[in-house]
């Protein structure tokens, strides 16, 4: 091979990225999915595998500020990225306003979609601090929830917007 490959390959490689504000280095195959690296290497099990095909959103995390399905990201593409998972959303014991609102308004039932849903909502509010109900419906449409029928999730997001506006 004459081409100078700057990174990756087939063997395990060492790569670093930031997760929830901390610099982390892992030794993994470059085609490992970000989801698996978070769950297995870093023991951050908040992101879940619901479908492995980008449909359910339960594996959602933020990558450089953008919501992504971590089941569809090969870890090499997350090299040097800034990743935020559900574990990084609360400031210590203090819940984030979305987490608070999900708790109060019935946004979480079985809870399996909740980490992804809250991250999707957080991504929405970052880009659009005053979403309409239509915006909320669209912003969360990549995150399937089988328990709630979404209505109480919409309530929770709407309440979080109010909390935020107040503080």
């Amino acid at each position: 091979m004459t081409t100078n490959i700057s990174s990756g390959g087939r063997a395990k490689c060492e790569l670093s990225f930031t997760v929830n504000g901390e610099r982390r280095t892992v030794r993994v195959h470059p085609m490992e999915r970000l989801l698996d690296v978070l769950r297995q290497e870093l023991a951050l099990t908040g992101a879940k595998e619901g479908c492995a095909e980008g449909e359910c959103g339960s594996c959602s995390v933020l990558m450089d500020g953008a919501l992504v399905n971590s089941c569809l990201v090969p870890i090499l593409q997350a090299k040097s990225a800034n990743i935020v998972t559900i574990e990084g959303l609360a400031a210590g014991a203090q819940l984030n306003c979305l987490q608070e609102a999900f708790l109060d308004f019935g946004g979480a039932q079985c809870g399996i979609c909740t980490p992804g849903m809250i991250l999707a909502a957080s991504h929405l509010l970052q880009r659009n601090p005053q979403p309409t109900i239509g915006d909320i419906r669209e912003g969360l449409s990549g995150n399937l929830c089988r328990c709630t029928g979404y209505v109480q999730i919409f309530d929770a997001v709407a309440k979080a917007v109010q909390f935020k506006a107040r503080t």
């Binding site: 769950r39 951050l44 099990t45 908040g46 992101a47 879940k48 595998e49 619901g50 479908c51 492995a52 095909e53 449909e55 359910c56 339960s58 998972t85 559900i86 574990e87 959303l89 609360a90 819940l95 987490q99 608070e100 999900f102 708790l103 109060d104 308004f105 019935g106 946004g107 979480a108 039932q109 079985c110 809870g111 399996i112 979609c113 909740t114 980490p115 809250i118 909320i136 419906r137 669209e138 969360l140 449409s141 990549g142 995150n143 399937l144 929830c145 089988r146 328990c147 709630t148 029928g149 979404y150 209505v151 109480q152 999730i153 919409f154």
Partner: protein, 757 residues
């Protein structure tokens, strides 16, 4: 009822904080040292004899643990009702995806490749795929006549009514399979050591079902099997029976390897191999007077049970008992049967047979209304069950239920009459048609008939060293709020703060058997038991003099602390006692089918777009009487969530079968509603002062599954003036029906099924 501090308030979910922070531990989040990963080799044919199994080349088979039927220490079956379902197929397979072999390996990535290289030769046997083929008996695939179970309900003199009828109205209605589609796939971890026996952790609904199944499968005594529920990411009935299979598989691999084994299904495997809602066919033949009164009728209810019995008898039972809807039938004969086909067994799913037979009933009411020439509203009014009347099983309605009042309020909330009028005018033009439809229904809470008596559930409440009390039940939390509501009940009963009450993890090593978490029974039946067990704690404390008759929560805590410090922790138990005046005859299928019913009227408004033949639900009013609402946020969440599944069942979710195998076992092609698909769902409760269970609560979990399908399809009929009698109803179906109707040029309601006398 006095006003309560805690019951009736929307206290925070017990496990809510863990769920919103990602800390909640589901089965796939757990690992054990030295753990292997397990995989299942499954049948690729619907029915056949296994001739030869070849392990492919290129795989280091010596690294794998391999289990087949001959490794089973006990009996090769998944014990439930009838012991006909093997844990691993032995010589013969009866449905696609039937488990044949198990593999385990330390590297989970090694498994899919290994499974792929195993080839199995079969001698194919003829297979049966539909209720009709199964009824024909050309091929007998189960028992003597392909029939898992039949019921016959008879009331009055049905044979005498036909000649008195002004009209005889017939109809046939069908419902499809539905996948539960909990977002967390099934999974289990098992460990084994000769001292302690088998322990499994998993995603599950009914710890003691698994406990019992593992005892038989592994040939172990009760104290050598322990089942622990992890946080469970949705279930809806889908984790009622199949987890026993997966737990069995993990346990067999753990026994053989001596190491912990984790089996996690991926979505494709979960959808293709595990249970779905039973497909059904219901035939009605009803004798009606000119005035629209039902004189009597025959109802034939058939479900497709798949290849093994599993829960079909119970699903069939509930469907049978609900088949008459919330109406008074002076005379009725209901024949019901669960038929075998060569598909993976169908199983529990929220509603449990009732959504199927109620869909038929509520569609049939529309047909009766059309034949008699009454409105859909009037026909229902004239036939509603009244207090004092009896149901089809001759259960006397003792509750002060007023269905007309419920109906009127639902009509008002939905602005039914004005809309109905406006739509019929507006629909004359344009390619988008609107309609509005009603469904009235009931849902029995708790186990059917003698079920609760046979279960004889037990609960414990424990006084703890820190002065708090702890609830111990095998009733599981999988989103519905079990933990929260049971703690509320205890806190209220004992006059404590909500935070003074905790609940134990559902671990058979620690909690008594409070029965399975199914049939909307938890709040009503288990809640009541928990209440009396809690009172036992109070009694102990007061009798001993540690606590005054009247006390503050702080005084209770102190008393409890002191008592426990002196005497050790103690538990108070309560066991279910069937009330002596409740009568049920299992032979004749007659008597008090359920301790209580919840009642409801739903109104759906739809638009059908004739460019794409798609239906959108614009509004759904859900009004129900469920006794006392113990937790408004949870209750509303249950109703809305159930309706969302009901809308999916009606308009989106179609299982595509080919030779008994699901073809669309992915989330991309099995279509459940997203946040962009659901209408505003408006939930209302009517409390009519009917007292049942703890603090007057009846079951709530399953009810909302019953109403969407009939109300929506009734609304579609209203919009198009064309009849649809099967769900799911997809745009392609509407298109085909409109195409044939316009070819045959027959009027909308002329097609068959009506005889005038």
């Amino acid at each position: 009822m006095t006003s309560n501090r805690i019951v009736g308030a929307s206290v925070p979910r017990k496990e809510g904080r863990d769920k919103v922070t990602g800390r909640a531990q589901y089965i796939d989040d757990m690992t054990l040292p030295n753990m292997l990963y397990g995989a299942t080799v499954r049948s690729r044919v619907p029915r056949g004899k296994i001739k030869k199994i070849t392990f492919g080349s290129g795989i280091a088979w010596n690294e794998f643990v391999i289990v087949s039927a001959k490794d089973i220490p006990g009996k090769n079956c998944i014990v439930l009702i009838v012991d006909d379902q093997p844990c691993l197929a032995d010589g013969i397979v009866n449905h696609p995806e039937e488990p044949i072999l198990l593999l385990a390996h330390p590297d989970r990535h090694a498994l899919p490749k290994a499974v792929d290289t195993i080839s199995i030769e079969y001698e194919p046997l003829p297979a049966v795929f539909t209720i009709e083929e199964s009824e024909e008996h050309r091929e007998i695939i189960w028992g003597k006549d392909n029939t898992f179970k039949t019921y016959l309900v008879e009331k009055g003199d049905i044979d005498g009514v036909w000649e008195k009828a002004d009209y005889i109205v017939e109809g046939e209605y069908r419902t499809g399979a539905q996948e539960q589609l909990y977002i967390e796939n099934n999974g289990m971890i098992a460990t084994y050591d000769p001292e302690r026996g088998v322990t499994v952790w998993g995603s599950l609904q009914c710890p003691y079902y698994i406990h019992k199944a593992l005892m038989t499968l592994c040939n172990l005594p009760a104290d050598k099997v322990r089942v622990v529920q992890m946080e469970t990411g949705g279930a809806f009935g889908g984790k009622e029976e199949y987890p026993s299979m997966i737990a069995g598989h993990a346990a067999l691999l753990a026994i053989k390897s001596g190491r912990p084994v984790k089996i996690i299904y991926d979505r494709m495997e979960d959808m293709a191999a595990t249970t779905k809602r039973h497909p059904s066919r219901t035939r009605h033949r009803t004798a009606v007077t000119k005035g629209g009164k039902i004189l009597g009728g025959e109802i034939e209810f058939a479900v497709d049970g798949g290849a093994y019995t599993t829960l079909s008898p119970v699903v069939l039972s509930r469907g049978t008992i609900h088949a008459g809807g919330p109406y008074y039938w002076p005379n009725v004969r209901i024949r019901a049967k669960a038929m075998a086909t060569n598909a993976p067994p169908h199983g529990a799913f929220r509603g449990f047979g009732a959504p199927q037979s109620l869909f038929a009933m509520e569609r049939h009411m529309e047909r009766i209304a059309q034949v008699v020439g009454l409105s859909p509203i009037e026909i229902r009014r004239r036939n509603f069950l009244q207090p004092g009347q009896t149901t089809t099983t001759e259960q006397t309605i003792r509750e002060a239920i007023d269905l007309e009042k419920l109906l009127d309020r639902a009509l008002e909330l939905s602005n039914y009459h004005a809309k109905k009028q406006r739509f019929s005018k507006d629909n004359r033009m344009g390619t988008s048609k609107k309609g509005i439809g009603v469904a009235a229904f009931l849902h029995g809470a708790g186990f059917t008939g003698s079920g609760e008596r046979n279960l004889s559930s037990v609960v414990d409440v424990e006084a703890c060293a820190d002065g708090s009390v702890r609830v111990l039940v095998s009733s599981t939390e999988f989103g519905q709020g079990t933990k929260t509501v049971l703690c509320q009940i205890v806190a209220e009963t004992l006059g404590l703060e909500y935070d003074d009450v905790t609940i134990a993890q559902a671990d058979t090593g620690e909690v008594p058997n409070s029965g399975p978490t199914v049939a909307s029974r938890t709040v009503m039946v288990v809640g009541k038991l928990v209440q009396s067990a809690a009172l036992g704690i109070k009694q102990t404390l007061t009798t001993s003099g540690a606590l005054e008759r009247s006390y503050s929560p702080a005084e209770f805590r102190t008393a409890c602390q002191n008592y426990v410090a002196a005497h050790g922790t103690f538990r108070s138990s309560a066991r279910f006692e069937a009330p002596s005046d409740v009568f049920w005859d299992d032979e004749k299928y007659r008597g008090e089918a359920y301790a209580a019913f919840a009642w409801a009227v739903y109104v759906a408004e739809v638009t059908v777009d004739l460019s794409t033949y798609s239906v959108s639900v614009n509004d759904l009013v859900a009004l129900q009487e469920v006794g006392k609402v113990l937790h408004p946020v949870l209750a509303r969440g249950q109703i809305v969530g159930g309706i969302a599944q009901g809308i999916g069942y009606t308009l989106y979710e179609k299982v595509i079968w080919q030779n008994g195998r699901m073809q669309n076992s992915q989330m991309t092609n099995y279509i459940m509603p997203t946040s962009a698909d659901l209408p505003p769902i408006r939930v209302f409760f009517e409390e009519m002062g009917n007292i049942h269970g703890a603090f007057g609560a009846k079951g709530i979990g399953e009810l909302p599954m019953d109403g969407p399908a009939p109300s929506i399809i009734n609304a579609v009929e209203d919009a198009l003036q064309v009849r649809f009698d099967a769900i799911p109803l997809l745009p392609e179906d509407i298109f085909e029906k409109l195409a044939t109707e316009s070819i045959s040029k027959s009027g909308p309601h002329s097609a068959g099924g009506v005889q005038s006398q």
